[in-house]
């Protein structure tokens, strides 16, 4: 790694900013801003309230590689003007009114519209999105549908023994990562919350804790662990089942279960029982393999069993910074976490029927709106191929794979840097993410865009806005 000089060429600092990358939502970032004019209060070079108008972020302290890369974005690919695809298939720049009107027309006349995304925008934006969805009878879904959806289903089947991350920091003496490579996907998770920090009851930090990684691959997280359990691919369910059986006092019959010698399983269970406070973090390694939601289901049951002996909790390692927020928001507004279908005037939630991937592979949707998400980069081709048949509306900040499939592109703004908003951390702690700098000219806040779409659809449907909005 090349050594880089610290950044000194900046004018202002904005402190306690929240990182808008992964579910860790680290809220201790310091943005170094150059240029612009402070709209608010400035004290010793630190912006204590308000934001910097016209400035841009030149540096970012405390962030990990991922967080820093997101804040220090690639301006070459930033979407700055609304665009509409012409007959030749080229995206042509246009004005906001034309783009919004066309999008509103598509949404208002759709029979099976799907609004997908939401995980990288604020709760405030979702309010308008939900209202729009309820108005037109759309399906609202977020990225949970391709990442932690099975976890939520398992939660619905088995329960949800969770904690906030500070509990791990202050109490945990055993930390288990399973099916997750935190060092790559949540780089500060170990450092800030789980393993390294010095907590109230764990004054020596890392030395007071045992770190276990369960993953078929010897990942970067596994390399840092005290114990690596490399069970076989797709063998998760059998492995946890054996652990539960051992916990109930059963002697294992087979010598090797899911690639792990039975003595090792027995030792592991014993040490998990002996821990004072255990924390299990699970990731997509469990949700994407053969028995999907049942892997989590049985892992949750294992944690519940362990609570008879000592204290164990778990947290799903949510990927996007507000993916949990959407689930919480939908649950509090309409009772179901994701994949909610409003087609019949009331919410329906049925896995395999009202989820984006299933809808796309069944070729049902006739209008697809993507907001703050990238199906082009994350959906399997079997689902994306239907996006080639239907109009796609994209609200995003960068030109990405989805832009290649989009017919209308609406440039949004960057929550937690250029716009403020609420997000929910992976453990459900709400954070108000503040605005640090102004957004590029001619882009709009996501909140404004979705509200504007709502107003225009209301107009097409002949509904007075004040009647419709509650």
């Amino acid at each position: 790694m090349v050594y880089e000089e610290p950044i000194t060429d900046y004018d202002y600092k904005v402190e306690n900013c929240t990182c808008a990358f992964c579910g860790c939502n680290c809220d201790d970032l310091v943005y170094l801003v150059k240029g612009g004019e402070v709209k608010g209060e400035l004290k010793d070079g630190v912006v204590v309230s308000g934001y910097v108008d016209g400035g841009h972020v030149v540096g970012c302290r405390h962030a990990c590689r991922l967080g820093a890369s997101k804040v220090m974005e690639d301006m070459d690919q930033r979407l700055l003007v609304p665009m509409i695809r012409d007959e030749k298939g080229n995206l042509v720049e246009t004005d906001w009114d034309t783009a919004l009107d066309k999008a509103a027309q598509l949404i208002a006349h759709a029979v099976r519209p799907v609004f997908y995304g939401w995980s990288e925008t604020s709760i405030e934006t979702m309010h308008y999105g939900l209202e729009l969805g309820e108005l037109v009878g759309a399906v609202l879904d977020n990225q949970a549908t391709i990442c932690h959806g099975p976890s939520l289903q398992a939660v619905q089947n088995a329960g949800y023994p969770v904690m906030t991350l500070g509990e791990t920091k202050n109490r945990a003496d055993m930390v288990v990562y399973t099916g997750n490579n935190a060092m790559n996907s949540h780089p500060r998770h170990l450092a800030r919350y789980s393993t390294f920090p010095r907590g109230y009851f764990r004054k020596r930090g890392r030395f007071d804790r045992t770190l276990v990684t369960m993953d078929p691959r010897y990942t970067d997280t596994a390399k840092m662990s005290d114990i690596w359990v490399g069970f076989e691919q797709n063998g998760d369910y059998e492995f946890y089942n054996a652990m539960r059986a051992v916990l109930r006092g059963k002697k294992l019959e087979k010598d090797i279960i899911s690639g792990i010698p039975k003595e090792d399983i027995e030792d592991l269970v014993e040490s998990m029982k002996q821990a004072q406070f255990g924390a299990l973090f699970f990731g997509l390694g469990l949700t994407h393999t053969l028995s999907k939601q049942r892997n989590i289901d049985i892992a949750i049951n294992l944690i519940q069993d362990l609570n008879k002996f000592t204290k164990w909790n778990l947290i799903p390692m949510r990927g996007h910074f507000n993916v949990n927020g959407f689930n919480i928001f939908m649950a509090l507004e309409q009772g179901f976490p994701y994949g909610v279908d409003f087609a019949r005037g009331y919410p329906r939630y049925m896995n395999g029927e009202t989820n984006t991937i299933d809808l796309l592979t069944r070729e049902e949707p006739d209008v697809f709106m993507v907001i703050a998400a990238d199906p082009g980069a994350h959906f399997p081709s079997g689902a994306n191929r239907h996006l080639a048949n239907i109009p796609v509306i994209q609200i995003d900040i960068h030109w990405g794979p989805s832009t290649e499939l989009a017919d209308i592109v609406l440039p949004g703004s960057f929550i937690a840097v250029e716009a403020a908003g609420t997000s929910y951390r992976m453990d459900g702690v709400p954070i108000y993410m503040k605005k640090a700098v102004s957004k590029p000219k001619n882009t709009r806040d996501d909140e404004w865009i979705v509200n504007e779409l709502l107003k225009r659809v209301q107009k097409i449907k002949g509904i007075k806005p004040e009647v419709a909005s509650k």
Binding site: A110, V111, R112, P113, V136, G137, A138, Q153, Q156, N157, Y237, E238, N241, A242, R244, A245, L247, R248, K250, L252, E253, K254, I257, L290, S291, R294, D297, I298, N301, F342, A343, R344, Y349, M350, N351, G352, E353, R362, E363, E364, D366
Partner: protein, 269 residues
């Protein structure tokens, strides 16, 4: 007896929801009622007559006198027979999701394949699928620990994953093969699979019986106390053959029984 025949005119890629067209609701309907009826498709309703010609023959005093016959490509017809309590439905093609879900009586015959969630939360009646079915056949609604609690599901083909999830009663018969985790979380009831099973039947089961007459590839550690039983009598049914009987899933303190055909599964002995 009243026979209502739906002959398809046009298909739709967006699913048609048939939950309102069950014998309980339409036993007094005449052809003109079907002419007027609008069927939910996506977020709207469209005239049923655009999609189906409906013939009504005979008359019915009660829903139990009704027989509904569906002809055409039904692969986008959802919720056939949902919540029906009596009468008969015959679907002469493969059907979409939720066929016979929450039904409490009557009879459904699918002369083709059925998509997922067939017979979900059934409490009674008979659902016969002549072809294959997919996931969550005879399962519970997501989150509920009470799944199918009565009735019979007869699958002549194969079944997908998580057959009879959270089963709390009733009987499921599969003539073909079955994918992973059949009878997961089941507490009562009866599952018989005549074909082969891939992995882990009976995961976390607490009660009930699973009989596998084919070959099983992998069994969970939670199944213990194997013993050989010949011609067992299970839930009043006399089964012929030699079986290995397991008790499980002890990982969840379960007391269910899993019977494996002893000849085809020698490797487990």
């Amino acid at each position: 007896m009243k026979i209502i025949t739906f002959n398809q005119k046009k298909t739709s890629t967006i699913g048609l929801e048939f939950d309102e067209l069950i014998p309980d609701e339409i036993f007094q309907w005449e052809e003109k009622d079907f002419q007027k009826y609008e069927i939910p498709i996506g977020n709207s309703r469209f005239p049923l007559k655009d999609y189906f010609d409906v013939d009504v023959v005979g008359s019915a005093e009660s829903p139990s006198d009704v027989k509904i016959i569906l002809n055409g490509d039904l692969t986008r017809i959802k919720y056939i027979g949902t919540k029906m309590s009596t009468g008969e439905i015959v679907a002469n093609s493969s059907v979409d999701l939720h066929c016979g879900s929450e039904m409490s009586g009557g009879e459904i015959t699918v002369n083709g394949n059925a998509e997922s969630y067939a017979g979900r939360e059934m409490t009674g009646g008979i659902l016969t699928i002549k072809g294959n079915t997919r996931e969550f056949c005879g399962a519970s609604y997501i989150g509920d620990w009470r799944g199918m609690s009565g009735g019979t599901i007869m699958i002549h083909g194969s079944a997908g994953k998580q057959l009879g999830e959270c089963l709390t009663g009733g009987e499921i018969y599969v003539k073909g093969n079955c994918d992973i985790l059949a009878g997961i979380h089941m507490t009562k009831g009866f599952i018989q699979i005549d074909g082969d099973v891939t992995r882990w039947p009976g995961g976390q089961m607490q009660g009930g019986n699973i009989i596998i007459n084919g070959k099983l590839s992998r069994l969970l550690e939670g199944f213990v106390d194997p013993e050989i039983i010949t011609n067992p009598e299970i839930e009043g049914k006399q089964i012929t053959g030699k079986y290995i009987k397991y008790v499980g899933d002890i990982a969840r303190n379960g007391k269910g029984n899993l019977y494996l055909d002893a000849d085809k599964n020698r490797n487990f002995l």
